[in-house]
């Protein structure tokens, strides 16, 4: 064990999935031509005023309830003042002293195999800034304000994380949660879900925290892990060489896999926060909170437990199935429609179906095979109509749009031969055709059973039940 303990806190920015911006009616859709989705409010024109989009309040409440947090009865928007060309008003409207969500928590399956409680200090609402574009403008910079005013929920953890892997587990957990709640699309490429990591190290057993560095704008799970690991190593090397860590903001360069200093504490802005006089405090009544609570879906942890306990799905499979609510819903619908054990359905969802989705770059919502159709296929294995092997071909045909499992089985004549007499005849024929191998088997080379099964399956075009064939062969060969 290293003599250094790593301490990490994450600030996750989740873009809320509203139709319009947090303080204006402009659209939040991604990818439009620059500056076509910025109205006068987003542009910070003289005289315009912000008006809060109520939807963001509802979404923040949902999140707060999902992590068992307090919903602040009276939260306040504040101005964070600094100058930057992509910040149109010269201040960002955020929440400072009174955030809408406070003191929540969630559990992660830690690196060391234990379940760990991670505190969520707060989650507050704020507006995103625009984007500066430094290429293609010849000595100038371009400004795209489409993103300006997009609603963000900034989720701040306690410094409870103790490794890069834990940080990723926590981030994944939040990622899953916000998508379950339908408050964020979780699209990391588009920047809808990103984080800053506060990283420090201290000698094992020391109570005080070490000096931290903040790594900005990490937009993939992989980068979070690599950036933290790099940073930890950098700080440990520094300290072991007798140096000191300075408090600063650092940037992760994924191409070179390193963090670089962006600005020191001395260069840090004094943001001069103060309550925004253009907006009233957000007052949330108890009955509103209760109404939102009624709209909460089953949360990932509860769903995972239920899949394990009530449906008998293996723990690892339940964990994977519940990462994405839509996948879990698909699985549950299929399991519900099928008379086979839920684990068999899970095998198919996580096996063939996930493979096909990956291959075609599709989301579960784009699956070419419905939950009910998959259930029918699994049932046909379960009721011995087809073998598992044949089922894979049927699945591919279903994926290609050739019809239902029954239609394909019928059209291709894939129905398993269950008539013992018919199989016996073929078994006899195969044994008779291979007298040498039959003798060897009888002399003790039992591995040859596979050869005989293969021959029978070949003769039947794969339609015989392999278990039945096996049984019959053993009986005949030893008889």
């Amino acid at each position: 064990m290293s003599r250094w303990e790593v301490v990490i806190g994450l600030e996750i920015h989740a873009q809320l999935a509203t139709q319009s911006k947090i303080f204006s009616g402009a659209s939040t859709a991604y990818g439009a031509e620059p500056n076509t989705q910025a109205c006068l409010v987003d542009l910070g024109y003289p005289g315009v005023l912000p008006v809060l989009n109520e939807e963001v309040v509802r979404m923040a409440c949902k999140f707060g309830l999902a992590i068992g947090a307090e919903i602040t009865p009276r939260s306040v928007f504040a101005r964070k003042n600094y100058f930057y060309p992509d910040l149109p008003k010269g201040y960002q409207i955020s929440q400072y002293e009174l955030p809408i969500v406070a003191n929540g928590e969630l559990t992660i399956d830690s690196d060391d195999g234990e379940r760990k409680r991670i505190g969520v200090t707060r989650a507050h609402l704020e507006e995103d800034a625009g984007k500066s574009v430094h290429e293609g403008f010849d000595q100038m910079s371009g400004i795209d304000l489409n993103r300006a005013g997009t609603p963000l929920l900034e989720i701040v953890s306690e410094p409870d994380l103790r490794s890069a892997k834990d940080a990723v587990a926590y981030m994944r957990k939040i990622h899953t949660l916000v998508r379950y709640l339908g408050i964020c699309d979780g699209n990391m490429q588009e920047g809808s879900f990103r984080c800053d990591a506060n990283v420090s190290v201290r000698p094992q057993g020391q109570d005080e925290f070490g000096t931290r560095a903040e790594i900005k704008n990490l937009n993939s799970f992989r980068f979070v892990e690599r950036a933290i690991n790099f940073e930890v190593e950098r700080q440990v090397d520094l300290l072991e060489d007798g140096g000191e860590v300075v408090q600063e903001t650092r940037l992760y360069d994924s191409a070179r896999d390193e963090t670089r200093s962006m600005r020191s504490k001395e260069e840090a802005n004094d943001y001069r926060y103060f309550p925004d006089p253009d907006l009233l405090p957000v007052e949330i009544a108890e009955d509103y909170i209760e109404a939102v609570r009624q709209t909460l879906p089953e949360l990932p942890d509860a769903k995972q437990a239920r899949l394990q306990e009530s449906l008998g799905v293996k723990a690892e499979d339940a964990a994977i199935l519940t990462i994405q609510r839509e996948l879990a819903d698909f699985f549950e619908a299929a399991a519900e429609a099928s008379s086979a054990p839920a684990q068999t359905v899970a095998n198919w969802v996580l096996g063939e179906l996930s493979g096909a989705l990956n291959r075609d770059g599709l989301d579960i919502s784009g699956s070419r095979v419905s939950a009910e159709a998959l259930a029918l296929l699994v049932d046909r294995i379960h009721d011995n109509t087809i073998s598992g092997k044949i089922a894979k071909d049927v699945f591919e045909a279903m994926w290609a749009g050739e019809g239902s499992a029954d239609e394909i089985i019928e059209a291709r004549g894939l129905k398993q031969i269950t008539d013992t007499g018919a199989i016996e005849a073929i078994v006899d024929k195969v044994i008779a055709a291979n007298p040498g191998q039959a003798d060897e088997y009888r002399a003790g080379k039992e591995k040859l059973i596979g050869f005989f099964v293969g021959q029978v399956m070949k003769e039947t075009g794969g339609k015989a039940n392999p278990g039945q064939v096996n049984q019959l062969l053993k009986k005949k060969l030893s008889g």
């Binding site: 542009l43 005289g47 005023l49 003042n81 100058f83 008003k89 400004i143 001069r272 006089p277």
Partner: protein, 491 residues
């Protein structure tokens, strides 16, 4: 005196409205007359920055047509000037600053929109202190405004262009904004009526912000009746301003007839102490006597934290302004410094060259009081004192219906007299600032002359009691004729 005896420019909106209805003159004729008057007379005053002749004549013709077809709005064809702080679609809105000398808004402020919808005809935009920061109209990028009563004197500020215009009979009514007294003090200094309604009564949307928690739009007029007429059309909830209040707007004109019998008028003793000019004090005391004679009861009241109002204001207002004015950075609109070396140079020179001295002073003060380590001692403390001041008013209004006193400590002062000493200038708002800090409606009504210069009576009422406030002013005007007086040069 019958209405028709008065020259058209000297008539109030109420009188003009009757003339239009009777067909004595058309809105186009009225508009033309006033536009010509502005052209002829404003050279000496510098009160109007932009005359919108073509737009005004088109609006007047439309109003005449609407009247002919019987669907005229309440202000159909009546002329108005807008302070150059209200955004007007397609018409330069400078806010008195070099920073916005080239700014043409793509939208109308709610105030502008509502008055246009009521049929009012905008004649142009009035001069003002830069970003409404000033009490003398000397901080305007476009130069001083002169007081029609004495061209060597200030018309007050920041709505000095509006007050001078109304006093000079360029228009019966002009809009203004009031953050610490910027409607009422200019009204007092020019012998006009100025009302600042309750904070939240009129939408701030499209009004270029100075100090958001204090700014409120209002009216400068010659009669309280006109103020009531126009305020009624401006006021009301606006979903584009979260601080506007969703409460029905009463019929202010109907409320004007409420008699003074039994009205309890609070008098604040501190308002009449050594800081008050003797001649001004005499006129205000005489006005109080008039109210008493008409049935009001005068009651002594105390506002113990009043002394703190100016220092409190000069922490809160600059703090908000330092943030509100950050958007003027040369990036998207307004002035931009030429040939910047880099981003910092662009910011520094744009703001250094685009803002005037008073605006810079307030941005610096505001930045300082919000800074880490100073916030608690200044901004937070000021907000606490603000609460105490608001509480003082609340207690007093348990006993009285209005508070009365002087609007400004002296009549109009000479241009240049106070420009070297900002604190002396700031003290001009000592009687008016409290109403802004507490969000209360307040007005100034002409109540006489001191050394041939107009004096204003200041009236403050509880939240949303604009109707009762204006009734007191109107009843006073029924008894007096100070508001009909006009400087000889502008008869």
């Amino acid at each position: 005196m019958s209405i028709s005896d008065k020259p058209i420019y000297d008539q109030t909106m109420a009188e003009l409205s009757k003339g239009l209805a009777a067909g004595d003159f058309s809105s186009v004729e009225l508009t033309m007359a006033l536009l010509d008057r502005i052209e002829e007379k404003d050279g000496a005053l510098n009160a109007v920055l932009t005359v919108t002749r073509d737009e005004a004549l088109a609006a007047a013709a439309a109003a005449d047509a609407a009247r002919a077809s019987g669907d005229a709005g309440p202000l159909a064809g009546l002329p108005i000037l807008h302070k150059d702080i209200f955004c007007t679609r397609g018409v330069r809105t400078s806010c008195g600053s070099k920073m916005l000398d080239n700014f043409i808004p793509p939208y109308d402020a709610t105030v502008v929109e509502r008055l246009a919808a009521a049929g009012a005809v905008m004649l142009g935009k009035t001069n003002m202190d830069e970003f409404a920061m000033g009490s003398s109209n000397e901080t305007s990028f476009y130069g001083d405004v002169m007081n029609p009563w004495d061209l060597e004197r200030s018309p007050g500020g920041s709505s000095g262009g509006s007050s001078a215009s109304v006093a000079a009979r360029f228009a019966p009514v002009a809009t203004g904004t009031d953050t610490g007294g910027s409607i009422r003090q200019p009204a007092a200094l020019t012998g006009t009526v100025g009302i600042k309604p309750t904070y939240g009564r009129v939408s701030r949307y499209g009004m270029i912000a100075f100090a958001s928690s204090l700014d409120q739009a209002g009216v400068i007029a010659r009669s309280v009746e006109d103020a009531a007429l126009v305020l009624g059309a401006m006021a009301g909830f606006d979903e584009r301003d979260s601080t506007s209040i969703d409460q029905p707007v009463p019929d202010y004109v109907a409320e004007l007839d409420t008699p003074l019998d039994g009205v309890r008028v609070g008098i604040v003793r501190q308002h009449f102490d050594a800081g008050l000019d003797a001649g001004t004090g005499d006129q205000v005391r005489a006005a109080l006597k008039t109210l008493e004679d008409r049935g009001a009861t005068l009651v002594d009241v105390d506002l113990p934290n009043l002394d703190q109002s100016v220092p409190t204001y000069y922490v809160v207002a600059p703090a908000e302004c330092s943030s509100n004015l950050s958007r003027f950075d040369g990036i998207r609109f307004g002035y931009r410094a030429e040939n910047p070396e880099d981003l910092l140079d662009l910011y520094c020179r744009t703001r250094g060259e685009g803002f005037g001295a008073e605006v810079k002073r307030r941005i610096l003060t505001g930045t300082y009081v919000l800074s880490a380590g100073y916030y608690d001692a200044y901004y937070l403390k000021a907000q606490q004192v603000r609460q105490l001041i608001a509480d003082d008013f609340r207690k007093v209004f348990a006993d009285v219906d209005v508070i009365a006193g002087p609007t400004a400590p002296t009549p109009a002062f000479k241009l240049g007299e106070k420009t070297d000493d900002p604190v002396t200038m700031y003290l001009n708002d000592i009687y008016t600032i409290g109403a802004n800090l507490a969000g209360l409606p307040a007005m100034s009504v002409p109540c006489g002359f001191a050394e041939d210069l107009p004096v204003g009576l200041h009236l403050v009422a509880p939240h949303f009691a604009e109707g009762a406030l204006m009734a007191v002013g109107h009843q006073y005007q029924l008894e007096t004729d100070w508001h009909t007086r006009c400087s000889e040069d502008y008869r």
